[in-house]
């Protein structure tokens, strides 16, 4: 009985935390989940990568770590709900599709498609 009470209390806390953050994100971001690490260069590229296997935070941390080690990258946005990684680059910098695929595959995931804008 004690365990159930503690579990429900923790869940209540967890759910409340999620509600608060969702509300904040809704106000300040066009997507449900904002920039997860780094910053955005307004003159840089925005590379959207659809990824297979991106189901939880530990997966996304792997992707973050791999790309944030690169000089061309200023920030990463992770959208777990849609399996989407957005890579923000410095002005005048780009990363070839083959390299993106290779980095994500080596991290243990698969690339579906890559779009730039």
């Amino acid at each position: 009985m004690k365990f159930i009470f503690i579990a429900l209390t923790l869940l209540n806390f967890a759910y409340a935390d999620e509600n608060v953050h969702s509300h904040v994100n809704h106000q300040h971001s066009e997507r449900a989940e904002g920039l997860s690490v780094g910053s955005i260069d307004p003159d840089g590229l925005r590379i959207n990568v659809d990824v297979f296997g991106l189901v939880y935070d530990f997966c996304a941390q792997a992707i973050e770590k791999v790309f944030m080690n690169r000089n061309e990258v200023t920030g990463i946005e992770v959208d777990l709900a849609n399996g989407l990684i957005t890579i923000f680059t410095k002005h005048g910098e780009d990363i070839e599709d083959n390299l993106i695929r290779s980095l994500i595959t080596d991290a243990g995931y698969n690339v579906d498609k890559i779009n730039r804008r």
């Binding site: 503690i6 923790l10 869940l11 967890a14 997860s36 297979f52 530990f58 941390q61 992770v78 243990g108």
Partner: protein, 212 residues
């Protein structure tokens, strides 16, 4: 006092399995699993997403022995889908088993163990199975397996607090009571994962994982 020190050391260092045996390239993982049978610690380093190597320490309270081993974890196969991922791992270890139990003549023996881990998960559902065969010369040989199912009561975004409700069934053919059922709650946020449960045998479980 010696037992207490051993438990503290193992709890402080510890890692076990329910979480991924292999991390991302150049990633470290620290895991601690503590239940009614044992306290265990696993610290591993993943040179690639395919394998990891690390230290595994266990203290089995009732049987009064410790294991200190080098453990190798290999990702045999991964299935990445748009909204799910499944994995099959092989875990193997080699080290020594130590016991201070008075009736034993041999106090230290080599020990080997191996087993598979399989998991499947979406952002809402989770299922896993793992087993392990362990063999020493005389002190202890055993086989254990366990399975888990879980559900996330809400879907949390990246970097938010995630919660899971899980049910674990352990099967130990060599024990008098062969099955143990444990409902658990798992919480994780960022690189930290914590879970606790209360088993059908009346034991509290406490597990912790940190990735860096």
């Amino acid at each position: 006092m010696y037992k207490l020190l051993t438990i503290l050391i193992v709890c402080t260092l510890s890692i076990d399995v329910f979480s991924r045996p292999v991390s991302y390239p150049d990633g470290w993982t620290f895991m601690s699993m503590n239940d009614g049978f044992k306290n265990s610690t696993h610290i591993h380093y993943s040179p690639s997403a395919k394998y990891s190597i690390g230290y595994k320490g266990e203290y089995w309270r009732e049987d009064e022995f410790q294991i200190h081993a080098i453990q190798f974890n290999n990702l045999l196969k991964r299935w990445n889908k748009k909204h799910s991922q499944a994995n099959l791992y092989l875990r193997s270890g080699l080290g020594f088993l130590y016991s201070d139990y008075q009736a034993l003549n041999s106090k230290i023996e080599p020990v080997i163990f191996t087993g598979v881990v399989a998991d499947w998960e979406t952002r809402r559902y989770f299922a896993s199975y793992e087993n392990r065969f362990m063999k020493s010369i005389k002190i202890k040989n055993n086989f254990r397996q366990k399975s888990r199912v879980g559900i996330a009561p809400y879907i949390a975004g990246f970097g938010k607090l995630h919660a899971w409700l899980m049910l674990e069934v352990k099967h130990a053919p060599g024990d008098v009571e062969k099955f143990t059922v444990t409902p658990l709650i798992r919480l994780f946020k960022g690189p930290s994962l914590f879970e606790t449960g209360y088993s059908s045998k009346g034991f509290l479980s406490f597990n912790f994982v940190y990735r860096f």
